[in-house]
Amino acid sequence: MKRVLALVLALCLALSLAACGGGNSTSQPAAGGSGSQGGGEGYTEDITLKVANYAILESGYTEFWEGVKAGFEEKYPNITIEWVTAPYGEITNQVINMAGGGDMVDVIFSELIWIPTFVEAGLAAPAEEMLDEDFLADFYPNVLEAHQVDGLTYGVPLYASSCVLYYNKDIFEAAGLDPNAPPTTYEEMLAMAEQIDGMTTADGNKIYSFGVPTASVAVSGSFLNSVVYNFGGSVLAEDGTLAIDDGFTEAFEMIKLLDDKEYMPQNAKAKDLRNLFALGQLAMYYDQSWGFNGVSSINPDASSFTASAMPLKGGDGNGAGTLQSHCFVMVNNGDAQAWAAKEFVQYVITPEVLNDYMNNITPAYPVKNDMADCLPAMLEASADATTQAIPVPLVPALNDFNLELCTLAQAVTVSDKDVNTAIADFETAANAILAG
């Protein structure tokens, strides 16, 4: 605490001195030019860059982000990063409320599915307007597309993931399965699940065969959406209307089946599944690749038994999942701020900064040509997961819609409703939300 205080004091002092010394420096770029495009030129005045970041509060990530701040501030001595923090579930409200008070953040570390909220609020600025063209051109097109609303890119991904299958090699071995041959289809998975069913851990706890998050959190909806894509189904049309089909029904029939057979932990959040997986009580589950950070924070030895696999194929589907990412949403707060924001984003999304992070802290798939080598070993088996992933249409009511998907999954599992009835109920509710 004292150290932080001292740091803050020192910083204030430095700032006030700088302000005195540089009395003449106005907001003119040192090398002329007013746009943020084109790069090269910089601002020499003192800039405070406000970065909204929930991850800084989560112990698994704090160190990395503090390192980013230190490294960036060393490179750009005139820019100071100020973290704006809130819990994962509240950060969007926080940023919006602050903006309502005239207090604008410059960059938001965001989930892909939050982008529509920031666009709807009129906060997000298109990356085409904020970033250097060649920087943007280096991204994989299908990934960037997933971050677009009306043809403009509103989120700049650091890395991406699909809902990949993590499985426990030790459990596979104990069940007499080949630990290097994970299932590729739902049928294979069901057969393996049956073999695993009934096993217990050393201290007598049940081992669940398979897990998908279904608890009421918006992100669970992305996983369910992914299962639908696995079956070649669709959820939302391009224009943001409901477009459910047979694949959709098959997906929820599968979820019901998994529940009826008691293979799946009920009403679980992603973090519940990570917990079970870390403790060896879950053989296979869907997670974003970076969810492994949560696993290893519970059980540091987890990497010894964890392996990844491609999402499962079901029905007529080819096993595509939803594309998910952690991305930067940028706000345009005038030339100087926008310049600093650009420099920050372009500083972070580089192999130098992210390589170690993606390999050792949160496994994730690269999204840019110059980062192709950053793919962590653990994900090599599922390297194509993001290339074939399908983006979710970024409709304004996406969060609420995702919650409705969770309610549907709960209806067919814990409520034990008939799939068709539950889908009919879902359609009513979903249409109302989408009509917003």
Binding site: M1, Y54, L57, E58, S59, G60, V84, T85, A86, P87, Y88, G89, E90, Q94, N97, M98, G100, G101, D203, G204, N205, A270, K271, D272, R274, N275, A278, L279, G291, N293, G294, V295, S297, I298
Partner: protein
Amino acid sequence: MKRRQTLSSILKYFVLAVILLFLLFPLYWVLITSFKTNMEAYAFPPSFIPKSPTVESYINLFTVNNVFFVYYKNNFIVSGISAALTVLVALLSGYALSRFHFRWNGWIVAAFLSAQMFPMISRLISLYGLMRGMHLINTHPGLILALTAAMLPFSIMLMSSFFDSVPVAVEESARIDGAGRFGVLFRIVVPLVKPGILAVGIYSFLLAWDDYLHAATLIQTDGLRTLSIGIALRYLGELSYDWSLINTISIVGTIPMLLLFFFFQKYMVKGLVAGAVKG
């Protein structure tokens, strides 16, 4: 007859034991979990006495996760000042409502009573804009004022019932001795309602300590956050649970309240009871 009595006595003790078990066992459960390692906490069937008790999660809380204590300290500051302010304002208003009976009293009481009923969420949306307009957003003074306002209605009613029990004659004799209005209030009457002051003070401290929604809306800087919201965001995060740590936090977060309660329970019990029985 005798047998029936023993039977009913046995029944009585049985029911008592069941209810007390329900009320107290969860606390014991949290306490022992806080002394377990995470691996033991996740064992099933659970152990009712820690096999190898450890203070690891306490050490962890004090060393690694010590941001907790920033929330803790903030909660003390905010709850303490809110309670003091509530007592002061309730003292004045309670006295006014108890001693002077004007036509507007009915309206004011009605306004207070209905204010007490409005759920916080209904105010959340507008409160934010309002506080922003007053430049009180993201500040402790703002949070304190909002909390005080929320606790006032009940506190005033409680305080007023204490003033009711002070005979008017006491004041009149002081008046005759030449004391002014404030003199009478602060030198004569206030000392007589000390138990009420303590009751209101502790009651509002408890309520402020419990607050979640006000702080969730009005505070944005991590360093200013209070306990409930701090715990929610930092320790019930998206990544994972650490149940031993959560149980440790539950214990450490509850202890000051327990101490406060056991220390002042005489006043608090009397005060709340007096207020409720009369009100």
